[in-house]
Amino acid sequence: MSLFSTANHSGIPSGSKNSMRRITNSLGIFLFLLPGLVIFLIFVIYPIFRSIYFSTFDWNGLGPAVDNVGIQNYKDILTDKVFLKSIINVLIIIVLSLGIQLPLALLLATLVGRDLPGRAVYRTIFFLPYVLSEVNAAIMWMLLFNADPERGLLNGILVALNLQPVGWLSDMKVVLFSVFIALTWKYFGFHMLLYLTGLQNIPTEIEEAACIDGANSFQSFFHITLPLLSSTIKTSVYMSVLGSIQQFILVWIMTKGGPVNASETMATYMYRFGFVRFDLGYGSAVAIIMFIFCVVFSLIYQQLTREPDYLTGL
């Protein structure tokens, strides 16, 4: 009744005024969204459907696509050992990211988020790699990882310490971890920033109260900071997993997915077939499979991490 009366202050019959307002309102929203929607449809939705269309062709990108092969591309991809290897590599990168990269970012965030002297300087330093272009970062790490001790810093240090040089990018057992080191260096600053903003939203009163109650800093961290950061952590895990699935630039520049597919990711696999072997139909099919992976992960993740909403009872 109160809603009704506030809407009825101008004296016009309330029912028709309400519905008219609703129409003009939604029309306004629609018109405002229109330019963005058009761009989104042209540059996101349309290419996705084109990719689905091309993924059913054996097509090298020159001239029109005519050789329709149905789902053969998908069959070939899912039975290709190299593609399965790339999925395993992506899973390894995801596990390492969640197990090492994110905890590291959280640790640093709690350090530089508090009363560390000169914390603004540290924050900037830690965030710097994320601002750097990925290509620059990749080339820099290639130089550091160079196998020649006289040209690569890391092997230079190892040799100076009388240790065996490591084939950072040439040893098929090591290369994925070398790539992971570069990935961690590049992206931990981003996650640290997420955690920093999360930490700022935690009221200091709660921590003070815990402190007064005699909680030590470990207890305070695990029982107060961590639970209150949970929504930030969820976001950061989500972005980390999606980023790992789509990881391309660093890997491609540093190793091209090699040696012999040892550091292949799904994205480098897609590029190899789409743009190195000019099999754009096959490459499109890989892209669609990656897209499905990302969508399925997103849906499952949202289901799993949905907070029970006590108000609506869902």
């Binding site: 003009t24 018109l31 090298n60 020649d148 090699g258 040696p259 743009f275 072997r277």
Partner: protein, 444 residues
């Protein structure tokens, strides 16, 4: 009231947005009509022509030389405007692929001939310039060599401006240090020399197998030495009359010979992840005695060396002959650069390419050390003794085998590179590698 106002404003904004979108389109169409009309009516002396030209010489002196040639041509032909787009090699390939899908090809663009060119011809993207080559009793044709690399079924769709050779480059001082008196002419001599170098504590060969193609050339040369010209030609035949296969004995034996180098430990530390620049640096810094590389090697190894000077005493020898093989030591595997002509190119564009490949401009290319010129008589411009050696190797070649990945459809380059890397990594037998290449070929 507020809502009404904001609604009104939003309508205005959108209207402005929509109208401005329309209004920008209108003026661009107008001048086209305006320029067409007078040209048709008055038969103006020369219609303005815009030539689009994509090349991949991102560094000087080639970059400035091309620009100067374009400027000179434009000065002599005021109606011609040449728009140059300079792209890095890999970026060029990606961008060209994209524009080719839309059918909007540049008038003149970088080409390596053969395989990739055949696909472009089949897609109807290139212009046949055979008649221009043959005009005036074949004046243009006779001035150039190596035109076959840019011909499909006897018709030319482009012309070369540089044709080189892949050969072994070696460090004479390191060879002397290992007690090697003369360069190897046979494969077993070569293997013995590798052993001598290794015994003297010198890395015999540097290879950038992370980039794959540098190592692929060793395998390609072995194939051509063992099987001669016929083995590859028979396997690469795209017609139904194909007699060969990539699983023929020559290809498999080449894999086993290459394996000897890997198993012997003749390559530098970390060769599997090394780039082409790393390989050139190892050689240029005197840490490896040999590299197998093209005409670009002398300058690239110097550029990548610590002192920017590179190897003091640089030598060159042809890939050794394999005992019992059909190929000769003087057969050459190589390739070069050329320009393809896009389907919509105006006659002026072809005339400009003719100018680019003229004797005087080819001499500039030679003097700049940008390439090994193809115009007859332009080799006088070569001042670098290393380039003269390459030029002689090409001139004296008993057979000229274009790079494998240039002869084959473009996808095959990637497939061969990926497969041969497995021999270097020891993850597949030569038989498996050849089977993979054959399967890739049959899928084309």
């Amino acid at each position: 009231m507020n809502r009404k106002l904001s609604f009104l404003i939003s309508i205005i904004f959108i209207a402005v947005f929509a109208l401005s979108a329309c209004s920008t389109a209108a003026p661009t169409e107008a001048p086209v009509v305006a320029t067409d009309a007078p040209a048709a009516a008055t038969e103006a002396p020369a219609e303005p022509v815009v030539i689009t030209w994509w090349h991949i010489s991102t560094k000087d002196p080639a970059l400035s030389s091309w620009q100067k040639m374009a400027d000179d041509y434009m000065a002599a032909h005021p109606n011609v405007k040449i728009e140059i787009t300079v792209l890095e090699n890999e970026a060029f390939k990606t961008k060209l692929t994209t524009v080719m899908q839309s059918g909007e090809v540049p008038d003149i663009f970088q080409s390596w001939g053969q395989g990739g060119m055949i696909e472009q011809v089949n897609a109807g993207l290139l212009q046949d310039i055979t008649d221009e080559l043959d005009a005036n009793n074949g004046e243009w044709r006779n001035s150039l060599g190596a035109l076959d690399a840019f011909a499909v079924n006897g018709r030319n769709y482009g012309v070369p401006w540089d044709m080189g050779a892949v050969t072994f480059w070696y460090n004479k001082d390191l060879f002397a240090q290992a007690g090697i008196e003369k360069t190897p002419e046979t494969w077993s001599e070569f293997l013995e020399d590798c052993e001598k170098l290794k015994a003297a504590g010198i890395t015999p060969i540097a290879v950038g197998e992370g980039d794959k193609w540098p190592g692929m050339h060793i395998w390609a040369y072995l194939v051509s030495r063992i099987g001669g010209a016929e083995a590859f030609a028979a396997a690469a035949d795209m017609s139904d009359a194909r007699t060969g296969s990539f699983e023929d004995p020559a290809f498999i034996q080449a894999g086993y010979e290459l394996k000897k180098l890997v198993d012997g430990g003749y390559f530098q530390e970390g060769f599997l992840g090394a780039t082409h620049d790393d390989m050139q640096a190892a050689f240029g810094n005197g840490k490896a005695a040999m590299i197998l590389g093209g005409q670009w090697s002398p300058s690239v190894q110097a550029a990548n060396s610590a002192d920017l000077q590179g190897v003091k005493n640089l030598g060159m020898f042809n890939f050794p002959a394999v005992e019992g093989g059909a190929g000769l030591v003087t057969d050459i595997v190589g390739g070069g650069n050329g320009f393809a002509i896009g389907k919509d190119a105006e006659p002026e564009a072809i005339d400009f390419v003719k100018y680019l490949t003229s004797l005087e401009n080819q001499i500039i290319i030679a003097q700049d050390n940008t390439g090994i010129p193809v115009a007859k008589g332009a080799e006088v411009g070569l001042t670098d003794p290393n380039m003269v050696m390459v030029s002689q190797a090409v001139a004296n070649s008993t057979y000229y085998q274009l790079y494998f990945d240039q002869v084959l459809p473009s996808a095959m380059g990637g497939i061969i590179n990926d497969a041969v890397q497995k021999i270097f990594a020891g993850t597949a037998t030569p038989e498996e590698v050849c089977a993979e290449i054959e399967a890739g070929f049959l899928a084309q």
